[in-house]
């Protein structure tokens, strides 16, 4: 008998799973939005759920009796009310002393319900009117597993331990105070001898014997602790953090493992970059770090510490931000800019240049430039042309200058001084420099000064010519590549996209497009532009030589798209269809405002033929014979629902793991194949499939966006719980709506997809 798992969701159902085999056993329909779910070992036939019946902000804890029945879907309408006026966060409910009582906290109340006596006691802390107790709000609760003792966390960082609470008069509490900010979560160890707490300080505190003196710390966990849990055996603790990270910690407070996805809660200033060496995606990571994130493995490779200073996580503190970064010379050099601005006049800027050290296989700081400019740096770019033996970097700044930095071998006989120095300072009529970019061969440098684009000769640093369209500040600037290298593209704030011809020094064409992201593909002439309209973001892929786009995808995301990048493929694809040729050599990734990383993929025809290969994940034990790939489709019909649940995960399978079924069929000896009549219809229909997709209607469905790398479902859940915890969040409803509609949409799409394969099978 495998262990079981209950889950609840907003659709009003409680589901029972066999999570080892990944099979849904039963569905109980409750019919109300379920916010949290608790089970007790002492009451196996019922579960506790948090619902809200009437007002949107009033939540109840009810016990749901789960009827015993053999059918798959069962109505469970037998609710018994336990506690009223509680918080919907699961952290605010705790069952104590082997299920004798349940404690719930909200605002300034602690409510305790005793199952045996069926009575509720309520304890109130002095409220917000008194300034001293303004932050007395309860934030979380935990119950001692063996004794009658409740621990509550508060907004001011205090932890209160309540005893004798079965008596309304004689109850006592003691205070433990170490946290200086809100206590995010509390947990008792299995034996109850120690209490764990965590919060914004990113320090896990272990209170031994519930006394203030005996405390142990595990500091510098990197980000706010959101949840703490203890393994049933008691040998491991686990903390989850706001930056998409889980840390497994030994009983003796030593971190033993870190599960880290794409680091989440930071503003992305640097944009998306690709490290030419590891082909990893590089962007802002932990505070003050650059994260190197492998797209192939969906794993973070490492964090490069740029700022190299102790990170103090405190409310209202102005941190040093890593604002710009660029790779140069095939990954040999990395330039980073960090800034901190406390007041208008006090800007701290620092530019660092890192050299790749082959011996240590890492970046080593080479040059540190204090205040490289007088004002914010708006752009920096390396000259990546091969003919430049001397590495060159250009920075442009709001102070109206652009500076050229070169690597100088300041060779005295000791050969020690190899560093970067400023070689040239350029300006144009005291306008702010907003963008800079080198042409592909490195011969020209384009710098935009507000509305004007200036072209400079990179040999002599002479001003060659200027372009001005008087259509607002230039927001993006890039040169065309390969055959289109004579074109220069600029996107302005007023929504005009201009293309200039560098040979004739004239405007080639312009289009009205509110460009938010413009990224050139390093391997082809293509340029991707993402525009923002009132409904959503649209993608346009075009060549500078012809104003007509190669490919348009409307509504790629509801949110604003912030950054995009082309990641070169290791093995080029060969899509013959004109619409996908732009995906042949590179893949386009983009990041939305809520920090979902999305990409475009056209599924290869083989992949479409064998959606069953996805099932491999669920049933790894089955041998992957050619039969399996062909006959597996039958199973798909039966296990349609399971399949659906796994869909999001399955899409992430790397292409290399899909074995093309057609080739399997053709290469398998005939005597081991099932009868031809059995296979024929499916084989033919699978061939038809690829033809059908080429018809125009299906395009939006066919080029499916994979919400790939950041495992999307779990993330949204995270988001959700985060938002719910924050009781001050006023536009909660709107968010929920938004989330729902998004997930609904996805669901719909999945259904359509499933339908589709059904037809082909039948």
């Amino acid at each position: 008998m495998n262990p079981k798992l209950y889950s609840c969701s907003f659709d009003g159902t409680v589901k029972l799973w066999d999570y080892v085999d990944g099979i849904l056993i039963k569905t109980f329909v409750v019919g109300l939005k379920l916010h949290a779910l608790f089970t007790l070992p002492s009451a196996e036939d019922s579960v506790f759920v948090i619902i809200n019946k009437e007002k949107p902000d009033v939540f109840q804890l009810v016990s749901v009796k789960l009827p015993k029945s053999s059918s798959q879907e069962i109505e469970a309408k037998e609710l018994s009310f336990v506690l009223d006026y509680i918080n919907q966060s699961p952290k605010c409910i705790a069952f104590g002393n082997e299920g004798e009582y349940v404690a719930a906290v909200r605002d300034f109340y602690l409510s305790v319900y005793f199952f045996k006596k069926k009575t509720t006691s309520r304890f109130t802390l002095s409220s917000s009117r008194n300034k001293k107790h303004a932050k007395n709000n309860f934030t979380c609760v935990a119950c001692h597993p063996k004794e009658d003792c409740i621990a509550t966390g508060h907004k001011d960082g205090k932890i209160r331990l309540w005893r004798n609470f079965d008596d309304d008069k004689k109850y006592t509490y003691t205070c433990l105070h170490w946290h200086h900010d809100m206590v995010m979560d509390l947990a008792f160890s299995v034996t109850g001898t120690s209490l764990l707490s965590g919060g914004r300080e990113s320090v896990l505190v272990e209170w031994r014997d519930a006394t203030e003196k005996n405390k142990e710390f595990l500091p510098r966990l990197g980000a706010t602790i959101e949840h703490i849990s203890v393994s049933p055996a008691g040998d491991l603790f686990c903390t989850s953090h706001s930056d998409n990270k889980i840390i497994v910690i030994h009983r003796n407070l030593e971190a033993s493992a870190v599960i880290q996805g794409l680091v989440k809660d930071s503003n992305i200033f640097t944009g998306l970059m690709v490290d030419p060496r590891t082909k990893a995606l590089v962007l802002n990571g932990k505070p003050g770090h650059l994260q190197f994130y492998s797209l192939q493995h969906d794993k973070q490779l490492y964090n490069l510490d740029i700022i190299q200073q102790e990170y103090i996580n405190d409310y209202g503190l102005i941190q040093i931000e890593l604002t710009k970064a660029a790779f140069g010379c095939y990954g040999n050099w990395l330039a980073t800019v960090e800034q901190r601005q406390e007041k208008e006049t006090e800007l701290e800027l620092q530019m660092k240049l890192w050299m790749y050290n082959k011996k240590t296989q890492g970046f080593v700081l080479n040059t540190k430039v204090n205040m490289p400019h007088e004002d914010h740096i708006t752009a920096l770019c390396f000259c990546n042309a091969e003919k430049f033996e001397n590495p060159t970097l250009v920075t442009s700044s709001k102070d109206g200058h652009f500076k050229v930095w070169i690597l100088t071998d300041d060779s005295d006989i000791y050969k020690k001084a190899v560093g970067w120095t400023c070689d040239f300072v350029g300006s144009y009529h005291k306008y702010q420099a907003t963008n800079c970019c080198f042409s592909e061969d490195g011969s020209l440098l384009a710098v935009s000064f507000e509305e004007i684009v200036t072209i400079w000769d990179s040999e002599t640093w002479e001003l060659k010519c200027t372009f001005c369209q008087r259509a607002g500040k230039i927001r993006h600037l890039c040169f065309g590549r390969l055959t289109c290298s004579k074109y220069l593209l600029g996107a302005t704030e007023n929504g005009i996209l201009c293309c200039w011809n560098l040979l004739s020094c004239a405007l080639e064409w312009s289009a009205k497009l509110n460009v938010r992201v413009m990224e050139p593909d390093p391997n082809s002439e293509n340029i991707a532009a993402i525009s923002r309209s009132s409904v959503g973001s649209d993608l346009f892929v075009f060549k500078p030589s012809e104003p007509r786009p190669l490919y348009i995808q409307k509504n790629i995301s509801r949110e604003e798209v912030q950054w995009g990048v082309f990641v070169p493929r290791d093995v080029p694809e060969s899509f013959t269809s004109e619409a996908y040729q732009w995906l042949n050599r590179s893949q386009f990734y983009f990041l939305t405002k809520s920090q979902s990383l999305l990409t475009f993929s056209t599924k290869s025809p083989e992949e479409k033929l064998t959606p069953t290969s996805k099932q491999l994940l669920a049933e790894e034990s089955l041998p992957t014979t050619p039969f399996y790939f062909i006959l597996g489709k039958h199973r798909e019909q039966q296990d349609e629902k399971i399949n659906e649940a796994f869909e999001s995960e399955l899409v992430q399978l790397p292409l290399t793991e899909n074995i093309p079924a057609i080739s399997e069929l053709l290469h398998t000896p005939a005597h081991v194949l099932p009868s031809a009549s059995f296979l024929c219809s499916k084989f033919v229909s699978s061939l038809l499939l690829s033809k059908e997709t080429k018809s125009g209607e299906e395009i939006p469905e066919d080029v499916d966006m994979e919400e790939g790398k950041e495992s999307d479902d779990s993330d949204e859940e995270n988001d959700f719980t985060e938002k719910i915890q924050d009781t001050n969040n006023t536009d909660l409803g709107e968010d929920l709506l938004h989330q729902l509609s998004k997930s609904e949409e996805k669901e719909l799409r999945k259904f359509r997809k499933v339908d589709y394969s059904w037809i082909t099978v039948l």
Binding site: G222, D305, I312, I320, T360, G362, V425
Partner: protein, 554 residues
């Protein structure tokens, strides 16, 4: 920094890139774990480039001399020569005397004073037992070191003999004189062997090859250097230096020839028939003397501009230079560069001895634990159920970092306000103030100080506020102090005085900035009249320097 070499190495293999091998994943996990365990990061102390001389091996080597011993001679010291044999005495030629000094003696251990007129160029023989010197009257005298009267007296020059030297076979003496001739003398017979009359002006310097007994070089005021071969009775190489030659030197191998004259030092390749290798112009007055360091890696030149320059003989770049009080006429280094002796026009002989290195060893060594303690438990084999716990490596933290780590902000500030820190390393103090500001606790750290403590802070501000590199941080700190202590002003005369000083400083700085802006304005006017192309580039460079100062004002 990516600290795990093996990880990135794996990433380079395409095989690993395609499939997430479990090993890669384990490594990734370890990297992340390492980042968690990284510990406290010490405060980054802002370093400023040290202006002026860079510290190199050469500066360390050549600065490692004691303060010079000054010896007063009777006239300008025209020649210093070390005996090649221990105990490395040296002969000093000044006026009409030759003094022999011991290594560490300040009094001459021997004096040769039997010259009627000025003596020149007292030079030791290779074995250190004979000494030869020329004189103003045209005579060349040979002395035994132990004796007093000359052993030989070579007569033949009609005018002052400024240069004499022993040839490599020890039995001959070469001399050059103001009568334009160069003569070779035989010591046993006390006879003139050869006379060369090829120079057309005074012969003032010369040098015999240390390998070939027949070769020697002379330099003359006719701007030429001539290499003579005793076997051919005429010069074999003649090169044009361009200025009157004051000094000439042959490398020990005999392959390179160095000449000094005018402001130039020139290196000639003898093996290529006297081709000019390098011309060095690092002095701004006539170069008077040359010397090679004992290793042959460094060339020293002394000049009338009162400087000794040291060149590397591989790159011919100046690696170090010494300053002296008067124009330098002569220069010599002892065996192993132990002593530098410089003779000057004012008759002062400056002697510098190398610092002894034996001192460091004499320090009492700390007693180490016994060998037993080291090997204790080292040979214990790990059993199956044992868990190996490594001792956590302890990172050394500065005292202020330890305070900051424990959030003792006032104490950290106190530490860096100690006089030992503020005077020697003000950048540490400023960095800590900056760090406190970054953490948002600067006001807390500055508040609640008594008269003595606050005057310490104010002293530091007064001393460093006007320095452009510290100004942005310190102005902010000064504002906070004024905000905090404004209510208690007037209670302590000491603190009030400091505040007034600070005010005066700020006013002075504002005046200074105004002047700078005026200058900048004037320069802008000048540049505006220039052509457009020039103005764009030149103006940038000019304004850069000024902008830096402008920041202070805000």
């Amino acid at each position: 920094m990516g600290k795990f070499p093996s990880l990135s190495l794996l990433m380079m293999f395409p095989r690993f890139r395609m499939l997430p091998s479990p090993r890669v994943l384990v490594l990734i996990l370890r990297v992340q774990l390492y980042e968690i365990m990284a510990g406290y990061k010490p405060v980054a102390i802002q370093t400023y480039p040290i202006l002026g001389e860079k510290i190199t091996q050469d500066t360390l080597y050549w600065n490692n001399y004691k303060t010079p011993v000054q010896i007063k001679e009777f006239g300008a010291v025209s020649k210093v020569d070390f005996s090649p044999q221990p105990p490395y005495n040296y002969a000093v030629t000044a006026s009409s005397r030759i003094h022999i000094y011991g290594r560490y003696s300040q009094e001459p251990i021997k004096t040769f004073s039997r010259f009627k007129d000025t003596a020149y160029c007292a030079t030791f023989r290779q074995d250190g037992r004979l000494l030869v010197a020329g004189s103003e009257d045209g005579g060349v005298q040979l002395f035994d070191i132990t004796g007093r009267a000359p052993l030989r007296h070579f007569e033949g020059h009609t005018k002052a003999v400024h240069t004499v030297d022993f040839t490599a076979d020890k039995y001959h003496v070469v001399s050059g004189a103001d009568d334009y001739t160069v003569k070779l003398w035989d010591i046993p017979n006390s006879k003139e062997i050869l006379t060369f009359k090829e120079h057309s002006d005074y012969v003032r310097c010369g040098c015999a090859s240390k390998l070939n007994p027949d070769l020697f070089v002379t330099g003359s005021y006719d701007h030429t250097l001539k290499m003579f071969d005793a076997r051919t009775n005429k010069s074999v190489i003649s090169v044009e230096h361009g200025q009157p030659v004051e000094s000439v030197l042959l490398f020990p191998s005999g392959g390179l020839l160095v000449s000094a004259g005018g402001r130039y030092v020139k290196i000639w390749d003898v093996l290529k028939g006297g081709q000019l290798l390098v011309s060095l112009k690092n002095h701004h007055k006539t170069v008077t003397c040359l010397y090679l360091s004992s290793s042959g890696q460094r060339l020293l030149s002394g000049s009338l501009d009162r400087k000794v320059k040291i060149y590397s003989t591989t790159s011919y770049k100046v690696v170090h230079s010494f300053d002296y009080a008067a124009s330098i006429l002569s220069l010599a280094l002892a065996h192993e560069d132990e002593t530098i002796v410089v003779g000057m026009t004012n008759g002062i002989l400056s002697v510098k001895h190398r610092k002894s290195e034996a001192k460091k060893d004499s320090l009492p060594r700390r007693r180490r634990p016994a060998y037993r303690t080291f090997i204790k438990g080292k040979n214990y084999m790990k059993q199956r159920d044992d868990i190996l716990i490594n001792r956590p490596s302890k990172k050394h933290l500065e005292l202020y970092d330890r305070d900051l780590k424990n959030f003792r902000v006032s104490k950290a500030l106190d530490r860096v306000l100690e006089p030992s820190c503020t005077i020697k390393t003000p950048e540490i103090t400023v960095s800590i103030i900056k760090e406190l500001n970054r953490r948002g606790v600067l006001a807390n750290a500055l508040a609640g100080r008594d008269e003595k403590e606050i005057s310490r802070v104010l002293n530091f501000l007064i001393r460093n506020l006007s320095q452009p590199r510290f100004a942005p941080v310190l102005i902010n700190a000064a504002e906070i102090i004024i905000d905090i202590y404004l209510p208690v002003i007037g209670q302590s005369p000491v603190v009030d005085k400091k505040f007034l000083l600070l005010q005066g400083l700020v006013e002075k700085e504002i005046d200074y900035q105004r002047e700078l802006l005026e200058t900048l304005g004037m320069m802008d006017m000048l540049f505006a009249t220039m052509t457009r192309k020039e103005s764009t580039s030149v103006w940038q460079h000019a304004s850069d320097g000024f902008l830096e100062n402008k920041k202070v004002e805000s």
